[in-house]
């Protein structure tokens, strides 16, 4: 029998044993706390425990399970809310009330629920890894596809007919080439730290449309890409993630609340239940999985929650879905690594973080991608990871190492947030390397002018940045009028275009066509006003008095998302107002 020798926070050690394997899941103590083997030597085996170790005695038994920590994958995942190791929090509430107790064993999936299964294969069929053998509607927006586990192939033995089944039933037996029989039901297991295999990686070619102007227009993220959202507290990381989770055009959202606030998860739960997916018209919860490991829940499970999330995402990607993961926040995950590493007395690298931090971050983000799956469907995983830099300082290790492995960087800015300019994404320090990959898509779907207007707007903002350097020293009054106009128009771009009101019913989600029209309108105003300034020598202040700038500023509210024809009238108004000036 293996027994506990030492206990230090979430770290437990067992002496003189050779029975454990690395990464194996174990049960610790009489309360059967969940744990994972994280280091082995001939003298001692170290285990991180996913639950509170208070009250544990040395000498209590540690039970080996023989398998690595794994998820149960099958219908019933969507709309659920899990802790970091796939225990449904709703079921935990049933057992232990409002406060979470230790050592609870609950099934990750509803055991007795009957699913309407349509079986797609017949006895004697040749089965390959990942092949879709049956489907069942999981929620109103997602059809669940039951697949052959990636590790198995062979011939279908006895096949059950279509009908109602629970996750305990067997659909068919698979006979592999050695003649061994494997029963296949609605579920399969997969270890969280191993990426699920796929056939090949496709080049990035399609954007993940979010309806957020500064993202879609300025710094687009691609399906299959990875983005980081770094920002100090109060700059709006969580709001940005919520907005993307609500409105982006992925089929499925996995929202990982990793070491964040409990009330925020409650908000997601309440809000997503009442919001409607613009694509399907169904409640957002029908396409969302929540993983909530709040900051006061055990730290080891926080470390696992990121992997739980990405493994769920890969499972749905294998069905041919486009999945977007929001990880809020990856810094808390890195800190969990640091905390465990500290307890193991490992040699720290930067700021106490372990030396393997960069490689862990890299392996996580590399699980994003646009893939051809084993069953020849195509699916993608897009990762959007929030980073909470210490002291808001972007040079700290987590931000810097994340920056190396993502191609899209949305830097949140404290001074923008202080002025309540949301989303507080800084347009000079942020970037997206996906823009070139997505150029063809934008040109094909919105015409070449979309990126042309974007380029013009970027130039205006850059010119403004340079002019503001001068203004800071000598004031705006001394600038010539054409430069004053640039400042006014750039201000318009900032407040009228980049700033977006998440709480306004029209402005919270803006289709690409309207984004295009808005840019076009701003550029139109700039060109016309420049003529007025240069040829008729009318000062910019006079144009400002006409209220035109104000009018354009409020077009995001005044013009409904489905009334783009109103933009023609707006441009006419620009012409008339300017013509009427003397």
């Amino acid at each position: 029998m293996n027994t506990i020798f030492s206990i230090n926070g979430p770290v437990v050690k067992v002496l003189n044993t050779k029975t454990f394997s690395m990464g194996e899941m174990v049960y610790v103590g009489k309360k059967r706390l969940m744990g994972e083997v994280i280091s082995i030597s001939d003298k001692e085996t170290t285990i991180q425990v996913y639950e509170e170790t208070s009250g544990l005695f040395p000498g209590e038994e540690v039970i080996s399970t023989g398998s690595p920590i794994s998820l149960t994958l099958g219908p019933g995942i969507i709309s659920n809310i899990y802790d970091g190791v796939q225990r449904p929090l709703g079921d935990i509430e049933q057992i232990s009330g409002a406060f979470i107790a230790n050592g609870l064993e609950v099934s990750p999936l509803p055991v007795d629920k009957e699913w309407d299964v349509t079986v797609l294969v017949h006895e004697g069929d040749e089965l390959v890894p990942g092949q879709i053998i049956a489907t069942c509607p999981e929620t109103s927006s997602i059809v669940h596809k039951i697949m052959v586990p990636p590790t198995l192939s062979g011939k279908a033995g006895k096949v059950a007919p279509s009908g109602k089944y629970t996750i305990r039933d067997t659909l068919l037996t698979l006979i592999d080439e050695k003649g061994q029989e494997h029963p296949i039901g609605l579920t399969q297991k997969w270890p969280i730290r191993t990426p699920r295999p796929s056939k090949s990686r496709l080049p990035i070619s399609r954007p993940l449309i979010t309806g957020q102007r500064i993202l879609d227009t300025m710094f687009p993220i691609a399906k299959g890409g990875a983005a980081a959202v770094p920002g100090g507290f109060g700059t709006g990381k969580t709001m940005t993630q919520h907005q993307i989770a609500k409105w982006c055009d992925a089929d499925l959202i996995i929202y990982i609340g990793c070491g964040e606030r409990g009330n925020e998860m409650t908000q997601v739960l309440e809000e997503f239940g009442s919001l409607v997916d613009p694509k399907t018209g169904r409640p957002l919860t029908d396409r969302t999985v929540l993983i909530a490991n709040t900051s006061n829940m055990p730290v080891a499970a926080r470390e696992a929650s990121i992997y739980t999330g990405i493994t769920l995402a890969e499972y749905y990607r294998d069905m041919g879905y486009h999945v977007a993961i929001m990880a809020d926040s990856t810094s808390r995950w890195a800190e969990a690594l640091r905390e465990i590493s500290g307890r193991l007395e490992e040699m720290p690298a930067e700021e106490g973080f372990p030396a393997y931090l960069p490689s862990r971050i890299a392996t996580f983000y590399e699980r994003a991608g646009y893939m051809v799956n084993l069953n020849d469907t195509e699916g993608s995983i897009t990762i959007i990871g929030a980073v909470s830099p210490q002291g808001g300082d972007l040079s700290e290790p987590v931000t810097q190492n994340t920056k190396r492995f993502v191609r899209c960087f949305w830097a949140l800015d404290k001074s923008l947030a202080y002025a309540r300019h949301y989303p507080a994404i800084n347009w000079t320090t942020s970037y997206s390397e996906y823009l070139d990959d997505l150029r063809d898509w934008y040109n094909a779907n919105l015409g070449e002018r979309f990126l042309r207007y974007r380029a013009r707007i970027v130039t205006l903002l850059q010119e403004e940045a340079q002019l503001l350097e001068i203004v800071k020293l000598i004031g705006a009054d001394v600038l010539p009028d054409d430069q004053k106009l640039i400042i006014e128009i750039a201000k318009l771009i900032r407040t009228g275009f980049l700033q977006q009101n998440a709480f306004h019913k029209e402005d919270t989600y803006v289709p690409l066509e309207k984004q295009l029209e808005m840019m076009r309108c701003i550029w139109y105003l700039y060109k016309k006003a420049l003529l007025v300034v240069n040829e008729r020598h009318i000062p910019v202040t006079a144009i400002a008095k006409t209220g035109l700038f104000d009018k354009i500023n409020k077009m995001k509210y005044d013009i409904e998302n489905d009334r783009l024809d109103k933009f023609d009238a707006l441009r006419q108004e620009i012409d008339q107002t300017l013509a009427a000036m003397d």
Binding site: S6, I7, N8, G9, E52, S54, G55, L56, F57, P58, I81, L89, I92, E93, G97, A98, F99, I100, A101, G232, F233, G234, G257, G259, R261, G262, N263, M265, T266, Q267, L269, A292, T294, S295, N296, M297, V299, R332, E335, R338, E339, E345, E351, G352, Q390, G391, G392, D393, A419, R420, H421, V471, G475, A476, F503, A544, G547, D550, K554, Y557
Partner: protein, 464 residues
């Protein structure tokens, strides 16, 4: 009768090591009896086989390797609870220190608490009127929220906390109580709070846990946990709305650091242990509202930023966990403005869902946004003025300068006795915003401007 262990193996700072222990569990409480008859309490913080590392709450002064007998109690640290704790004063470790005798406990609770299941939480929405314009309008306090005050040494954070207690309408009538936890504060600060509670006539609804600056640091680590356990009991067992004031969190974190370094742990930033975030979260996350209970725990932790540095680990980690922060500003404090709330970095995350027509007034959110945006512009104008002189500023910048001064003088500066209703606060905000031209109010919808904008104020300020 359980075993007694004679002597110790090692003593190091607040830690002692006991050898050849049987049946000790992690986090268990032990009693250490000195030969002099004194009894101290400790907690097992690490176990290595038969060796147990014990943290002694009262400090290790006077302990030797021979003069002690240690006994295991078989449970983790618990405090006695009953409805009688109201009006009482306890030490940081939860023992009565007001000479009114022991508590007749109806219940013992583990001070570490257990995490609230996110599924069981209710999203906080009910706004608490504090009567302070800068808080009510710009960083609204919501019932069930954790909203810290970031201050600095010598600033008037205590006065602000007392004013909030006096003016806040947290619950209806007697369903309301206050839990006060003092960690490493001076004796006169604790006295000031006690006196103020008495003056406000709420002392019978207050529970105090005091760990003063001279008290042992290990006890300081327990203080907020005792206080929050009492708060949870009062809220979820007795159905009260509880406001927890915890001061000073910086002292608490320093105690955690001291303890960590004596355990020989690897430090992260500025010597604080890597688990400081999780540790603070285990306190702050105990604020909230639970489904099916008409009760809440609202927290106002107070911390002093060392050297007024908001990027110091303590305010930084706190800000990442709490739902916003109220930051005090040294420059405003020096000008005699009270409360000296630094508007721009202050924030309430829960505000957006707890204000508006249903709770306060329809124009609340746009007005707050406009004040933030305009006041941010004031800062730009001021830095420009410091270079080129105020005379050289453009017209609109000059108006901003006037707005900034009036805003600080009339809106922020309200003194410690004025109690403004939200209507008064919002009306005052409109009066100040009307100093600026209508078209500059770009965060407010036209219809609201038509309704509330005061032309005569604009004319008054722009006559000359």
């Amino acid at each position: 009768m359980s075993l007694q262990y004679v002597g110790l193996k090692e003593i190091n700072g607040p830690l002692v090591v006991l050898d050849k222990v049987k049946n000790a569990s992690y986090d268990e409480v032990v009693e250490i009896r000195l030969d002099s008859g004194e009894v101290r309490t400790g907690r097992i913080v690490e176990i290595h086989g038969e060796k147990a590392v014990i943290q002694v709450f009262e400090g290790t002064e006077g302990l030797s390797l021979q003069n002690t007998k240690t006994q295991l109690t078989g449970h983790s640290l618990e405090i006695a609870l009953s409805p009688q704790i109201l009006g009482r004063v306890f030490s940081g470790a939860g023992r009565p220190i007001d000479n009114l005798g022991e508590i007749h406990a109806t219940k013992f609770e583990d001070i570490n608490g257990r995490p609230i299941n996110p599924v069981s939480r209710v999203y906080p929405r009910n706004y608490i009127s504090t009567g302070i314009s800068s808080i009510d309008c710009l960083a609204t306090l919501i019932r069930g929220q954790k909203l810290p005050i970031f201050s600095g040494s010598g600033m008037s954070h205590n006065k602000l906390a007392v004013q909030i207690v006096k003016q806040a309408k947290i619950g209806d009538g007697e369903d309301f109580c206050i839990v006060f936890a003092a960690m490493g504060v001076q004796n006169d600060v604790a006295d000031y709070f006690k006196r103020s509670f008495e003056e406000a006539g709420v002392m019978s609804n207050v529970v105090m846990y005091l760990n003063l600056a001279s008290d042992p640091i290990v006890e300081r680590i327990l203080t907020p946990r005792c206080a929050l356990t009492a708060a949870e009991y009062l809220a979820y067992e007795l159905g009260k709305h509880v406001l927890v004031i915890m001061t000073d969190m910086t002292s608490y974190c320093e105690a955690v650091r001291e303890f960590s370094s004596s355990k020989g742990e690897i430090p992260a930033r500025k010597g604080f242990p890597g688990y400081l975030y999780s540790d603070l979260a285990s306190l702050y996350e105990r604020a909230g509202i639970i489904k099916g209970k008409n009760a809440s725990v609202t927290q106002i932790p107070i911390l002093t930023m060392p050297n007024d540095d908001i990027t110091h680990p303590v305010p930084d980690l706190t800000g990442y966990i709490t739902e916003g922060q109220i930051v005090l500003d040294r420059a405003l404090d020096n000008q005699g403005i009270f409360p000296p709330v630094a508007v721009l970095p202050s924030l309430s995350r829960l505000m957006k869902d707890g204000i508006g027509a249903e709770y306060t007034r329809e124009d609340h959110s746009p007005v707050a946004n406009q004040l933030f945006a305009s006041y941010a512009q004031v800062q730009d104008a001021r830095s420009l003025a410091s270079v080129i002189g105020e005379e050289e500023l453009s017209d609109s910048d000059k108006k901003l300068m006037v707005f900034g001064r009036e805003f600080e003088k009339r809106f922020l500066n309200q003194g410690d006795s004025q109690n403004r209703t939200i209507e008064e606060t919002l009306d005052l905000a409109w009066e100040l915003l009307s100093i600026l031209p209508k078209q500059d109010l770009d965060r407010i919808e036209g219809s609201l401007i038509e309704k509330h904008y005061r032309e005569q104020v604009f004319e008054e300020f722009n006559r000359g």
